[in-house]
């Protein structure tokens, strides 16, 4: 995947006098991109702009080829029904026939190791299990681009590892991954390329190994030093 699948051109999002995203231009061509940056850098906002949940106040996104997308949030949002029905809900919205929805949803739950809990009320599952249902709901849609906003931020280490395994499996099935995380180990394990942003601006965009061994900017060096004491 060498040609860029998304070109971000002078993207801005201003709220009042605050520039949350400030004139961002970048080409995304890696299959797995991790956006890093300090709190409040605009990581989540950038993801939401790309996913279309927010509209930029300036600039544009150019998609050489329209990609089907799905997004997984930091806190999984579960409807008051079973885990299975939560996965089916996403498929139903895409207009699949009922039998196909059920078949796909069951397969997706199997992929995240939750078949046994398919009929359980989703909201009564543990945080890690709920996030896996959210991943199944996204995976069942077979997105060409999966966006994840700090998917393991509120999970314990064991659940985080499981979520990481699933993200890698989704990537292996061919989806592009664009995610944010506060876990640098995770960024290193999942990412191919790091986009480092600070105060709404792109600071650097580097292949993952290079970012962790020889960050090119002082801001990134400082960030790595602070995050890994």
């Amino acid at each position: 995947m060498s040609a860029a699948w998304l070109a971000v051109d002078r993207l801005s999002l201003t709220e009042g006098s605050t520039r949350i995203i400030d004139d961002v231009s970048l080409q995304l061509d890696a299959q797995r991109t991790v956006v890093l940056g300090p709190n409040g850098a605009g990581k989540s906002t950038l993801l939401r702009l790309i996913h279309g949940l927010l509209h930029p106040t300036g600039g544009s996104l150019r998609w050489p080829q329209a990609l089907t997308q799905a997004m997984v949030f930091q806190r999984p949002v579960m409807l008051r029904t079973t885990a299975l029905a939560n996965v089916i809900y996403g498929l139903k919205l895409k207009g699949y026939p009922a039998a196909e929805c059920e078949r796909r949803a069951r397969a997706a739950l199997a992929h995240v190791d939750l078949e046994a809990l398919a009929k359980r009320p989703a909201r009564l599952l543990s945080g890690g299990e709920q996030q896996r249902v959210a991943l199944a709901r996204a995976w069942a849609l077979e997105p060409e681009l999966l966006i994840l906003d700090e998917p393991t931020a509120s999970l314990d280490p064991a659940s985080s590892r499981e979520v990481e395994r699933i993200i890698k499996a989704i990537a292996a099935s061919g989806a592009r991954i664009l995610m944010t995380t506060h876990n640098l180990g995770q960024a290193r394990r999942i990412g191919e390329e790091i986009v480092f942003i600070d105060r709404g601006r792109i600071v650097e965009q580097t292949p993952v190994e290079q970012f962790f061994t020889q960050p090119q900017t002082e801001a990134a060096q400082r960030f790595l030093k602070e995050e890994i004491p």
């Binding site: 799905a70 949002v77 579960m78 409807l79 008051r80 919205l93 009320p121 989703a122």
Partner: protein, 234 residues
């Protein structure tokens, strides 16, 4: 204490003896108010949900309007429905005035804004939590409204109950459009008003106790149902 003991005894005698006249009055009250509440829910809940998630001109004005209409005086509603349904009125040809149907209409008009405004509050809270996820999955606003109505079904029980409480307790509207006709449109509240003015306090108070018991029982059932739902669905 005498004036409270006697009606308690009367109430007990009426209930235990399954007094036919009393049963008719209580059943008519329940029939009218439950039907009115049902209509108000069918109309008011979608309105409330759309006010919560919709985006259209005049939305804020409508929210203020529905909130304001929660305090609609029953006698005024009764008067307006009376004018609509009276022989010379626009809906006079249906001959509904002084019938239980007229009472249902009046109470439905009274209760719909209450159900709509309370539903809007419930759904608006859900919308803040679900909004991004539902939009990410590609749900239209009307689809989101329907999803949230279903998802909030147990919380909405409280909205419906508040509406029912208003309907069963009001006297002004049913008095005007029903006419308080013995055996036809006489309900608990209108009977209480009438018997009090006639000086038959024991019967009036007995009915009052039954009215309170009905409302308490329904609230208890709803409370238990919500508790169960929370344990079962989270």
């Amino acid at each position: 204490m005498h004036e409270f003991n006697e009606p308690l005894v009367t109430a007990w005698q009426l209930v235990a003896g399954a007094d036919a006249r009393l049963a008719d009055i209580v059943l008519l009250s329940l029939r009218v108010s439950l039907t009115a509440t049902l209509i108000a829910c069918v109309a008011g809940m979608p309105i409330g949900a759309l006010l919560a998630v919709g985006r259209f001109p005049g939305r804020r004005t409508l929210i203020v309007l529905f909130n304001g209409l929660m305090g609609l005086p029953p006698v005024v509603v009764g008067l307006l429905i009376y004018l609509l349904l009276s022989r010379a009125g626009p809906l006079g040809q249906f001959g509904l005035l002084f019938s239980p149907s007229a009472m249902v209409i009046a109470q439905a008009v009274l209760v719909t804004p209450i159900v709509a405004a309370l539903t809007r509050q419930v759904i608006a809270d859900e919308w803040t939590e679900y909004r991004e996820q539902l939009r990410s999955l590609g749900a239209s606003r009307s689809r989101a409204a329907a999803t949230l109505l279903w998802d909030g079904r147990f919380s909405l029980l409280t909205s419906a109950l508040a509406g029912f409480g208003r309907a069963i307790a009001e006297v002004g509207a049913v008095m005007i459009v029903g006419g308080n006709i013995d055996g036809v449109t006489r309900v608990m509240t209108t009977t209480i008003a009438l018997e009090t003015s006639k000086g038959d306090l024991p019967l009036a108070l007995a009915l009052g106790f039954i009215l309170i018991a009905v409302v308490l029982a329904l609230n208890a059932v709803a409370y238990a149902l919500r508790g169960w739902a929370e344990r079962h669905w989270g």
